[in-house]
Symmetry: C2
Subunit: 334 residues, 2 copies
């Protein structure tokens, strides 16, 4: 039964940040994942991000049987038919835009469809989840949100501060996303979201992707049932159409990469206590385990149609509202 | 008498942002200016700033009789003996450091001796004078201040927000500067400073450079006497050793440059109402008019020794405390 539901769904993962390779693409295919928001920038500036997109072009050229660089929900649906993974390029930081709002359109033309506004620390756009003080959405941040609305790029608030998140939800003419976070009532972490932020997001048509990263589920001891009950409660409170998944898979990286994520170039590395990757729950070790989440969601009593929505349908609906060609986005060339 | 005082002083201008050329250097020499903090970045990132420093190397090679790229107060004193202008490279924004704290040392090694933390809008380091909300000094901002202390780069707060300014004064192990602003009680502008900021700066040994830019003196109708009375009152309130000059001269730029200063790349240009340069007071049209300020300062009754301090002696003392080789700065190579 659960396999049937998983196969019926167009499974879309709201965020993964793997060290991408043929092996990782095979893991996604093994997990029945047809679409993924793949992070191609966390701290990188414009030129570094161009090079990373070049890496993606090369990965596609070398693995045409496994992946396609996608820019629309049509590409994702076609990838499911073809048994491939549709990769949506996404940013976890506005660093590729640097100080130049025109780069939003430039990166949109390169296929970037999703961008988080800030990553962990204050930037030119606004405050972030680990910064002690949240400036709110700045004037430059408002310009960027407006440009993202114009070109059809989805705003992501996962690592954004709460005040800036509320400002961005209010400022955005299009619904926005939290691609990979949980509610704070499930696990109280700066990376998770209080109800007022989720409520404001939902009222504007947004979607939250429930996240499997250890730090936001309570560590390796988190249970599948507990996670799935949280998803079900979110659906009950806010409506199933606003709930999805964003695993935050971090496959195949060495310890140097977790240090990069934490410290970037903005502070000296803590060489005495270098950060380490957390252990994941036994029931979710990577993209190949996605069918177990489907099983869990069915086991806590969610209807099959709801699970299909949570697995990907809600992301597809949101993308259709926001991406280029949708009513909200500019009709000009991109 | 006033000429004697002007000639006796080592005149140092806390900030100029001209379209530099042989002609401008001649204007500084005509004004008896021996040292100047010359802006080589406002919005530029690391690579753009490297190229601008390249322009400076070229200007020096073409005008060895008129200028020298300076890195110490010894260079400034020698320039006075030689009848040349000692140019200290300075930033009006932390944009050349981008997100990489290590670039503070890199640019220090290139001779950059002064940097403002933020320019008009919120950035990764903190809030700014024209941003509606001031985040305060961020964690990255604290890292940068600490690096500037270590390598001997002077912190400048002129365009910084008041909350971030107070945080930076508190965070800095070295005295800091306001290179080009006035008190708000003289002209109430976001670019000028309330007494609590000036007081905190002074208590830590800092220096404020009184500024001649039209917007911060009250426009072209501002009088020399009024300006000089303000300088004298600052001296009386806070002690003469904390008061200097920073003209903010903007010589020889077209209208496109004022638009660049205002809007950078962070918002679309206001093509309907493009910004224009303000008119300067008749008594201060550019660097060549600096001797008239000396006359004005003497006329309001400031003692000659105090005027010598205000014209440059206080900047030299502060630079000696902060720049590399001083007790505060790291003794390592740079």
């Amino acid at each position: 039964m659960s396999n049937t539901v998983h196969e019926r769904a167009v499974v879309v993962d709201g965020l993964q940040i793997n060290n991408w390779s043929r092996q990782i693409l095979q893991e996604l295919r093994a997990g029945g994942i047809s679409g993924v928001n793949a992070t191609c920038a966390v701290w990188e500036g414009p030129e570094e991000t161009l090079r990373t997109i070049g890496d993606w072009c090369q990965l596609q050229a070398q693995n045409p049987d496994l992946m396609t660089l996608a820019t629309s929900t049509g590409d994702i649906r076609q990838a499911k038919v073809d048994g491939r993974v549709a990769v949506l390029l996404g940013f976890q930081n506005a660093s590729p835009f640097a100080d130049d709002y025109r780069l939003v359109e430039v990166f949109s033309r390169l296929g970037v469809r999703i961008s988080q506004l800030t990553y962990n620390i204050q930037n030119l756009l606004g405050g972030a989840c680990y910064e002690p003080v949240d400036s709110g959405l700045t004037r430059y941040g408002r310009t960027i949100v407006s440009e993202m609305n114009r070109v059809g790029m989805l705003v992501d608030l996962s690592h954004v501060g709460n005040r800036t998140s509320l400002d961005a939800i209010d400022a955005s003419a299009q619904p926005v996303s939290i691609t990979h976070s949980n509610p704070t009532w499930y696990v109280d972490s700066p990376r998770n979201k209080p109800d007022d932020v989720i409520k404001a997001l939902v009222e504007r048509g947004g979607v939250i992707g429930c996240c499997l990263y250890p730090n936001v589920v309570g560590g390796a001891q988190a249970t599948l049932t507990g996670f799935c009950r949280m998803v079900a409660e979110l659906c009950e409170t806010f409506g199933v159409q606003h709930v999805a998944l964003g695993s935050d898979c971090t496959r195949d990286w060495g310890q140097d990469y977790v240090a990069w994520l934490r410290d970037g170039r903005w502070r000296p590395p803590d060489t005495a206590h270098p950060p380490t990757w957390p252990d994941w729950p036994g029931w979710f070790q990577g993209p190949a385990d996605m069918p177990r989440v489907t099983e869990g969601l069915l086991e806590v009593g969610l209807p099959e149609d709801d699970v299909v929505r949570i697995l990907g349908g809600n992301w597809l609906d949101l993308f259709d509202r926001v991406f280029p060609g949708a009513g909200g986005a500019d009709d000009g060339p991109r």
